[in-house]
C-alpha cells in the first residue's frame, strides 16, 4: 500500500535510521518532547480553566491568552518536531499502533476545537472578556481539557505498546 511504502521509505532515511540505531538519540529527543509537551499542556490548561471560569477571573481573558499562547505555540513546535523525529525512526510501528492513532485523532480534534473557538467562540469576547465566559466558551475550554488529558494518556500508552 502507498502509505506503508512511504513510511518504510521515511524510516530508512539516514536520520531516522541513526535515531533508531543510536542508544542516546531517542531518549534525548523524547526528553525534549516531554519537556515541551508539559509546557503545552500546562499553559493550555491555564487558558481552559479561565474559559471555564474557575481561575484568573479578575483578569481579562484576552490578556491571559495573549500572555500564555505564544509560549504554548513555541513549546508546541518543539514537541511536534521532536514527535516527528521519534515517529520517523519507527514509522511503520507507530502507524499500526492503536494508542498512536488515538493520540493523533485527539490532536486533530483539539485543533478543530481551537479553530472553532477562534472563529465563533471569541465573537462576543468584548462582552465577557472581564466576566464569566458564556457556555460556548466553557464548552471549548472543557473540551480542550478533556482532549489534552486524552492526548497525554494516549501518548504515555504508546510507550507501553510499542
Amino acid at each position: 500500500m502507498a502509505v506503508e511504502s512511504t513510511l518504510s521509505w521515511l524510516q530508512d532515511l539516514r536520520l531516522p535510521t541513526e535515531i533508531r540505531e543510536s542508544l542516546w538519540m531517542f531518549p534525548t529527543i523524547e526528553t525534549v518532547h516531554v519537556f515541551a509537551l508539559v509546557l503545552v499542556v500546562g499553559s493550555i490548561m491555564t487558558v481552559d480553566l479561565r474559559l471555564l471560569g474557575f481561575t484568573n477571573r479578575d483578569r481579562p481573558f484576552s490578556e491571559l491568552a495573549a500572555e500564555m499562547l505564544p509560549w504554548t505555540w513555541l513549546a508546541f513546535s518543539f514537541a511536534a518536531i521532536a514527535g516527528l523525529l521519534m515517529f520517523s525512526s519507527k514509522a511503520l510501528i507507530y502507524y499500526g499502533n492503536i494508542p498512536f492513532r488515538l493520540k493523533m485523532c485527539c490532536l486533530l480534534f483539539a485543533g478543530i476545537n481551537m479553530l472553532l473557538f477562534h472563529w465563533v467562540g471569541v465573537r462576543h469576547l468584548h462582552i465577557w472578556d472581564k466576566a464569566r465566559p458564556p457556555w460556548s466558551a466553557k464548552l471549548a475550554g472543557g473540551a480542550s481539557l478533556v482532549l489534552w488529558t486524552a492526548i497525554v494518556a494516549a501518548g504515555r500508552w504508546i510507550g507501553f505498546t510499542t
Partner: protein, 148 residues
C-alpha cells in the same frame, strides 16, 4: 501491593498520565514566575500578585506529584530507588520546592522585596534562572530514569 499494581497493566500508564499533567501545571506556574523574575515578561500583573495566585496550584501539583510518585515507586521500588537519575531528580525537586517557598514567603511579607535594590534584582534574576534550569533538569532526569 507492588505485585497488585504491576499485574494491572493500565495502572502505571494511568498514574504516569496524572503525574505528567501535574508536572505541566507545576512547571507552567514555575516558568510564568521565573520568566517574570528574569525579566523576559513584564506584562499584566505584579510579581507578588503572580506568586500569590500560583501558590495554591504549585503546592497542590506538588502533592499530586508526591502521591503519584510514591505509587510508581511502590510498583517498581528497584527501578526507582537504585537509580541515580531518580536520586538526582529528588534532590532537584527538593531544591526547587525550597526556592519556591522562599520566593512565596518573601513576596508575601513584602511585595516589593525583589525589586527594592539592585542587589536583590540581581538575586531575583539568579533565582529565576535557577528555577528554569531546575525545571528542565527535573523533567530530563525523570525521563532518563527509564534508560539508565
Amino acid at each position: 501491593m507492588s505485585v497488585a499494581f504491576q499485574s494491572a497493566n493500565w495502572f502505571v500508564p494511568l498514574v504516569q498520565t496524572v503525574h505528567i499533567i501535574a508536572i505541566g501545571i507545576l512547571l507552567t506556574a514555575v516558568y510564568v514566575l521565573s520568566f517574570r523574575l528574569v525579566g523576559l515578561t513584564q506584562r499584566g500583573q505584579t510579581l507578588a500578585a503572580l506568586a500569590v495566585r500560583s501558590t495554591p496550584w504549585v503546592w497542590a501539583a506538588l502533592c499530586v506529584l508526591l502521591l503519584t510518585g510514591v505509587l510508581l515507586t511502590i510498583t517498581e521500588p528497584a527501578r526507582e530507588l537504585l537509580n541515580w537519575a531518580f536520586r538526582v531528580k529528588m534532590l532537584l525537586v527538593a531544591a526547587l520546592a525550597i526556592i519556591l517557598m522562599l520566593l512565596q514567603l518573601s513576596l508575601r511579607r513584602d511585595p516589593q522585596y525583589w525589586s527594592s535594590s539592585p542587589a536583590r534584582r540581581r538575586s531575583a534574576r539568579a533565582l529565576g534562572i535557577l528555577c528554569i534550569v531546575a525545571g528542565a533538569s527535573i523533567v530530563t532526569a525523570g525521563r532518563w530514569i527509564a534508560y539508565v
